[in-house]
Symmetry: C2
Subunit: 432 residues, 2 copies
């Protein structure tokens, strides 16, 4: 039987999962592929701690060169995370003629251009299914299953931590900070949850989805990124009353040739499939021009879920290598209809706007006149019950389609009114 | 550039879609694959009617041998549907060294064993992504993306017509026959909707999903099949009151090594993702042991959606052939933990039971005593408002877990009670 030999760097949770699967499913996988996957080396700083999978000590090393310099190793499986030194290890691996499998979304989002160019130059492949949506085969689906399609929109709930926090707020009526603590207690959030909560992790994944969906490898600075830390329980409740759920969406939208890339809390209409995605689950909703509107749903994290994707990448590579002559992965082809990136100021859409104002006559008239001045027209206004101790009252408005820049200017002016006692909150509504 | 040459048989709706995509996306696809797909012949009984895609007359033939006998044609794309003569054409194509792409679920469900054996014997491939869920890349996901997984359950809403009918009944409160007529008017149902409505089409797809998920190629006679034609508006409403939607599910469940294969109307709890799948949409919900619970959602039909899947199959084959040496598709491997098929009589689960009884004292006691005799225990009973003109009253019960055989015996006995004025209705509840 043909053999494909791997070296793995990063023997953490997912790394141990990969080793476990390759062990436990050895026969199952070789029956499917006619190829045996051999684990030759496992590199980690820490080679003494116990993992939940038994490993022959001879496989363990803390010297990456034992993988990089070993010509028998066909594939570097990088599961250490973080940009450095993962980038250097992958670069070296490509230079030394190895293929790469990685789950490292931060690295691909930050340095993808360089790494993909090097891989292409060396006729090697980088596979990265586990980088978005853990075990959900979303990247293979975009690249292969939907190969003939052009994409109109991609809307992703791609950060399980944020979705858990928002779901808890909506379900249990708990505050943001309580929900975050609960997520941390359950192991769904890191000690420092910033990357997840502030939308950075979703943005990393959006860069990757945009690459697969539109053939454009954008940079992090090209994205508008806003996390969920300013979403209040109050707004979650008001949105619900209006028939919406608040979700952190990663959005790539082709608006007549301009690509609109954003991560932010979004009002999603309750009837939409994405509104039903709760807890740590992820879902990627894709509008394609041939196959129509599709959704891919599953757990967004987990040792074996991520490892399942890593193993499918290894098997894909093994299949290609078995063909004798290497079969290159399908090329990523740029959607030439896209000619520029759209700035957030130019966003056109509806907005949920929540104000806290003094409960006195004439306030609404003043607000309405400011909005009118900036061309913002209002579809509905609801005055909520008075907040007793403050003498103030919340007003919730849904705008008609407006330009983001105009809305911002209007809200700046409204915030300056004497009757407005708290800074206005605006949350984007997406028509899905 | 390398070329891959196809001959297409069945120039109907989907066939025309395939030709259109291969035309319109010629450059896009060759940029991705480095291969050109050449359409050499299109065969159909009718080569004179106009399609929505212009075709050089020289390509058209009504003689299948112009494809089968042409050694330059690498792939037969079969889109005619029906078992005969599609089976004979595919058999001939394999014997003459061609690969096959087909969307023909009826054929694969009826004659898959024979055709796959022949393909394997001749070292040729049969691809069939379009046979389930149109453009949803579910088969590629099960086979490749989830290659390392074993599956616990597969629950599919795989017939758009039935799902449309049930959705309309739930939404508009219309009767079954009205909903069917509406579906026919909108082009979502055939003139004779039997195959869709009676669960046959779902069963064909279940055979294919079972093959991909469990490595078992079962026969149609191994499945329990029940359609939606006996689902009444009344039951849709009562189920809703209890927190359920009624969906036609294709079910493959691994119950401790016994494979339970069924198609029938099912009560799905409202919070579950499958309950939100409405209209002509399809969704396949998969429980896997590594990647967890996944759902794949999208339109279940449509010219370009199905054609999108056919083209992805053609591209997959083209990629394989380009590798110089043919790269065989991943083998389907039987899940050896499965040792038998479970009969419907042995199903264990909860049931929705609806009775129409005379509104007089002691009736419920009699019914309860029959149920108790057969070991059926009841979780909830609701007496609905009296049906005026009949002097009868509906009783809706939810059972605890029971064995199907016991329930049937109990209902047979209940149907014989004088106070029972209509045959009892039972619908299975699935714990998802």
């Amino acid at each position: 039987m043909k053999k494909v030999t791997i070296g793995l760097v990063g023997f953490g949770n997912v790394g141990a999962g990969v080793i476990k699967i390759l062990r436990d499913r050895k026969r199952f996988l070789s029956d499917k592929t006619g190829t045996e996957v051999v684990i030759k080396k496992i590199c980690d700083k820490d080679i003494t701690s116990k993992r939940n999978v038994p490993v022959d000590k001879a496989l363990l090393t803390n010297n990456i060169n034992e993988i990089l310099d070993d010509p028998q190793i066909d594939i570097l499986v990088e599961l250490m995370g973080g940009v450095h030194p993962a980038k250097e290890f992958i670069t070296q691996a490509l230079l030394k003629g190895k293929h790469v499998v990685t789950a490292n979304k931060a690295l691909l989002a930050e340095c993808g251009k360089e790494l993909f160019a090097l891989a292409s130059d060396r006729d090697k492949s980088i596979y990265f299914e586990a980088s978005v949506g853990a075990g959900i085969p979303i990247l293979k689906s975009l690249r292969e299953g939907l190969v003939a399609n052009k994409f109109l929109d991609i809307f992703g709930i791609v950060n399980g931590t944020s979705n858990y926090v928002l779901s808890q707020m909506a379900k249990d009526g708990c505050d943001f900070s309580v929900a975050v603590k609960d997520a941390q207690k359950k192991g769904f959030a890191e000690k420092d949850p910033t990357l997840d909560i502030e939308g950075i992790d979703s943005a990393h994944k959006l860069v990757i989805l945009t690459y697969l969906g539109f053939g454009k490898l954008v940079e992090m600075k090209d994205l508008y990124i806003e996390g969920i830390s300013r979403v209040t329980l109050q707004d979650v409740g008001y949105a619900k009353d209006l028939g919406f759920e608040i979700k952190l969406l990663a959005i790539a939208k082709n608006v007549s040739g301009e690509l609109d890339l954003r991560v932010h809390p979004t009002l999603v209409p309750k009837g939409h499939m994405l509104a039903s995605v709760n807890g740590v689950f992820n879902a990627i909703y894709v509008s394609s021009d041939l196959a129509g509107d599709l959704m891919f749903y599953g757990p967004g994290a987990g040792q074996l879920a991520a490892a399942s994707a890593v193993v499918s990448d290894i098997i894909d590579l093994a299949q290609n290598m078995k063909a004798g002559m290497f079969r290159p992965k399908l090329n990523i082809v740029e959607d030439t209809a896209i000619h520029k990136l759209r700035k957030i100021d130019e966003r056109l859409g509806r907005y949920y706007v929540r104000l806290i104002v003094l409960d006195e006559p004439g306030v609404l008239a003043k607000i309405a006149s400011v909005l009118a001045k900036f061309g913002i027209s209002i579809a509905s206004v609801t005055q909520k019950e008075r907040i007793a101790r403050m003498g103030s009252v919340p007003i919730v408005m849904i705008s008609h389609e407006a330009r983001e820049k105009d809305l911002r200017l209007a809200l700046d002016a409204i915030n300056k009114l004497n009757a407005v006692t708290q800074k206005a909150v605006a949350i984007r509504i997406e028509e899905l």
